[in-house]
Amino acid sequence: MDQKTPSQTGREIELLSFKVNDQEYSLNIMSVREIRGWSKATPLPHSPPYMQGVINLRGSVLPIVDLSIRFGLAEREVSPRDVIIVVNVDDQTVGLLVDAVVDILSINTDAIDPPPEMGDNTTRFVDGLIIQNDRMIRLLSLKAAVPAKETNAA
């Protein structure tokens, strides 16, 4: 890893970090609309395996993306303790199904390292890497994680 001399050129941003299958990811908090507990989704016919289905978000239809399946990580049981992070991506509102929310971090954009080859299938979903003490926190690329609407049609 490159050594970075701390500088003041970066911005301060706030990240929400969460766990997917023992890996820790994070999102710019500005994209996060809300965090909900899990509720059973209505499955959609002929949808890709990572589409859990849709749930009712105060009268609107919210599609749920199971990130662990999306990332191609090991299969796991959906648990009622799972958390749904509702995010805005372009003009879409989508719910991301994750294991748990971990933390809110304030970091400087300078502290974000470029992503290396992750060694698993997650590389394309990662925009950057943050090392904090022993933790390796992947900065999630929302654009890669949330499939565009057109590709959803079977």
């Binding site: 209505t42 499955p43 002929h46 849709v54 009712n56 239809v61 599609p63």
Partner: protein
């Protein structure tokens, strides 16, 4: 300053809305001008539309729009004053100018750049129509408004040069008749500086000669100001010609001794105008001019309307949708709590449901708009595409005032454009071919809208060559969309056009008579909860028939169980429900099953399998099936697990949230708060029918 920007921004937004209305009136007017129904008033309507657009545009500094409108208006003015008689060529230019004007308005509204190439050609055409002696191409230099309303409405800065200007002023009788008054003029002078007014009372006649109508008193006026004499004269601009003003050379001081300088304010009595002007006050002239303009399609006294922000209506629609869901949830809770046994509660619930339905219907009708604006857009598409392929095509519309939900109109624009372009490009033959076949040279495209049994039906038809079924079938086989030796009815062949992947190749357009992308059109219609069907007669033409729900809001549906999921099937599609007994099940080849219903055999569709919820069933005995019929008469028996109940559901679109799903029209929220999918039976039937087997049905 920000406070002032807001009202101006609002007026600007409102101006663009007004432009839409004016453009519509312009279209109407042009079409009437082009028809036998035109009258003298028609050109006035057209003129005023362009004139008003120009006026508003000028105020906002939309120069490209102003310049174009000004040129257009000038030509129209010539027509209005009888100097120009519109022929076919000129009308074509007018229609084109109308289209360009529409584009300019849109670009101005969206603050997009306007290329000169957009207007160049049409401007040349318009200018050619302006003969030089009539209208000096007046330099129309509009004043752009800068709303610095805080500014003191007093003097602007002028080169200070204090001077005293003296002059005599004599009003004529006409001055009063025009509604002006010397007193007011003198008062206006005081804004320039110190004013001294002295009446020359020597000119006063004897009382006996005093005639009300004339003003005998000349005035001597001097103004101490740093403005020029021209500035002083400017005050008398309006009454130029209605009075006599003589400047007195500055040094001359020869005036009458001030007799008694009355206060300017008291001096001028409103003197009655010359007797000739007095008319019967009760004689209301306007009444005669009020006769309904013959060409105007509108009623003389327009209905009282209110302009409402679309956002507010959408919010209201959503709230009412929530209300309906809430009502159904409440009803369900009451029933589960077994509190519905009381007749009072039951009656109350029914009444509640009725009321909510009524509110919802009323609210949805607020959003309803006549399809006319949509049809007018199609006029333009016909003009443009027929010009591009050099065919003569006429668009005939029917049912322009049929009302449809606003969202539906917006989302119909693309599919309709597609179909109309196809009809003009491919459906209609070239002029020579038509004539050779005994048809009129001009092709006709017809757009019809009507309400029919609770839905809106829109038809797009042409009198062209129709669908070449042999070639269509062959192409489908070549593309592997259907197997080689399958028997298909005419309707089934026509519907092949809707299959995804059918018409991607360019050569299809000539062969099938239809061009690219009918599958896209169908998806779009279906996402509105609608259906589309084709009928075609070779050599005579093709008709597309679109059936749409009146409102996008509610649906009467049957809630059913499919593989553990609750799903809604629109009630209108269900003709029967039945339990499948062994006698009714007839295998067809290895993979399909038919259901015998009286004398008919319907294909059997395993809904759970088709939706991808579970693998195909092996045993259909004693299963429940819904008999579904398509608009084009295709039928199927759809196997489900169980029927829950029948109820009215609020439709939630999936488009924005997710996109298109085959077999699914929309979603709804059930009484328990869960989302349930609303199925698209037409799509399920079409996709569900397997054409792999052609063997005759065997008895089980």
């Amino acid at each position: 300053m920000t406070d002032q920007l807001d009202p101006l921004a609002e007026i600007k937004a409102s101006f663009f809305i007004e432009c839409d209305e004016l453009l519509e009136a312009l279209q109407d007017g042009l079409e009437t001008m082009d028809s036998p129904e035109r009258s003298a008033e028609t050109i006035n309507v057209v003129f005023r539309a362009v004139h008003s657009i120009k006026g508003g545009a000028g105020a906002f500094g939309l120069n490209d729009l102003v310049n174009f409108a000004h040129c257009y208006e000038s030509v129209l003015d010539n027509v209005r004053s009888g100097l120009l008689e519109p022929n076919t060529e000129i009308m074509r230019t007018f229609f084109q100018a109308g289209d360009i004007l529409q584009d300019l308005v849109r670009l101005s509204r969206d603050e997009l750049p306007i290329e000169p190439s957009l207007t160049a050609a049409t401007l040349t055409d318009l200018e050619a129509l302006l003969s030089d002696e009539v209208e000096e191409t007046v330099e129309f230099a509009p004043l752009v408004l800068s709303f610095d309303l805080d500014e003191d409405f007093g003097l602007d800065d002028a080169a200070p040069k204090p001077a005293q200007h003296s002059f005599t002023f004599q009003a004529s009788a006409e001055l009063y008749a025009s509604g002006n008054e010397p007193a007011k003029l003198f008062r206006a002078l005081t804004e320039l500086g110190t004013v001294t007014c002295t009446p020359d009372l020597t000119k006063l006649p004897n009382l006996s000669e005093l005639a009300n109508a004339e003003c005998f008193i000349p005035w001597h006026i001097s103004v101490d100001t740093d403005r020029t004499f021209e500035d002083v004269l400017e005050v008398f601009d309006f009454v130029d010609g209605l009075c006599t003003i003589e400047q007195i050379a500055p040094q001359t001081d020869a005036l009458l001794p001030p007799i008694d300088l009355p206060d300017v304010a008291n001096i001028a009595e409103p003197i009655a105008p010359a007797p000739g002007h007095i008319e019967e006050a009760t004689d209301v002239k306007p009444a005669e001019q009020l006769s309904t303009e013959p060409d105007s399609k509108k009623v003389a006294a327009p209905k009282a309307t209110v302009r409402v922000d679309v956002d507010r209506i959408d919010r209201l629609v959503n709230l009412v949708g929530e209300l309906v869901i809430n009502q159904s949830m409440l009803s369900q809770s009451i029933v589960s709590a077994q509190a519905a046994n009381s007749t009072e509660v039951e009656t109350g619930l029914e009444e509640f449901m009725r009321l909510t339905r009524d509110i919802q219907d009323s609210v949805m009708m607020i959003r309803a708009q006549p399809v006319k604006s949509l049809f007018q857009r199609m006029s333009r598409i016909v003009r443009e595409s027929s010009a591009a392929v050099k065919k003569s095509v006429k668009l005939i519309t029917e049912g322009d005032d049929t009302e449809v939900d606003k969202t539906v109109i917006e989302r119909l624009a693309d599919p309709l454009t597609h179909m109309i372009r196809n009809a003009v490009d491919h459906g209609l033959e070239a002029a020579e071919t038509r004539v050779a076949n005994g048809k009129a040279e001009q092709g006709v495209v017809r757009l019809r809208a009507a309400h029919r049994s609770g839905r809106v039906v829109i038809e797009v038809s042409d009198d062209g060559r129709g669908i070449n079924r042999d070639r269509v079938k062959q192409i489908a086989i070549d593309k592997g969309l259907i197997p080689e030796n399958v028997l298909l009815s005419d309707t089934e062949i026509d519907n092949l056009l809707f299959m995804p992947g059918f018409s991607t190749a360019a050569e299809v357009s000539n062969l099938s008579g239809r061009g690219v992308g009918m599958d896209v059109v169908r998806s779009a219609i279906q996402s509105l909860g609608g259906r589309i069907t084709i009928t075609s007669v070779p050599g005579q033409g093709t008709t597309f028939s679109i059936s749409l729900p009146l409102t996008l809001a509610v649906l009467d549906g049957m809630v059913i169980d499919v593989a553990g999921q609750s799903v809604v099937m629109p009630l209108a599609a269900i003709s029967e429900t039945m339990m499948l007994g062994p006698d009714e099940l007839k295998p067809l080849g290895a993979n399909s099953m038919l259901v015998q219903v009286r004398e008919r055999f319907l294909p059997l569709i395993d809904l759970a399998e088709k939706l991808g919820f579970s693998p195909k069933r092996t045993d259909f005995k004693n299963c429940i099936a819904l008999l579904i019929a398509n608009d084009d008469g295709q039928e199927a028996a759809i196997v489900i697990d169980a029927i829950q109940d029948q109820r009215q559901v609020v439709i939630k679109g999936l488009q924005d949230a997710y996109g298109n799903i085959p077999g699914v029209a929309a979603a709804t929220i059930l009484g328990d708060g869960k989302i349930a999918l609303i199925l698209d039976p037409g799509d399920i039937v079409v996709r569900g029918i397997d054409h792999t087997d052609t063997a005759q049905p065997q008895s089980a």
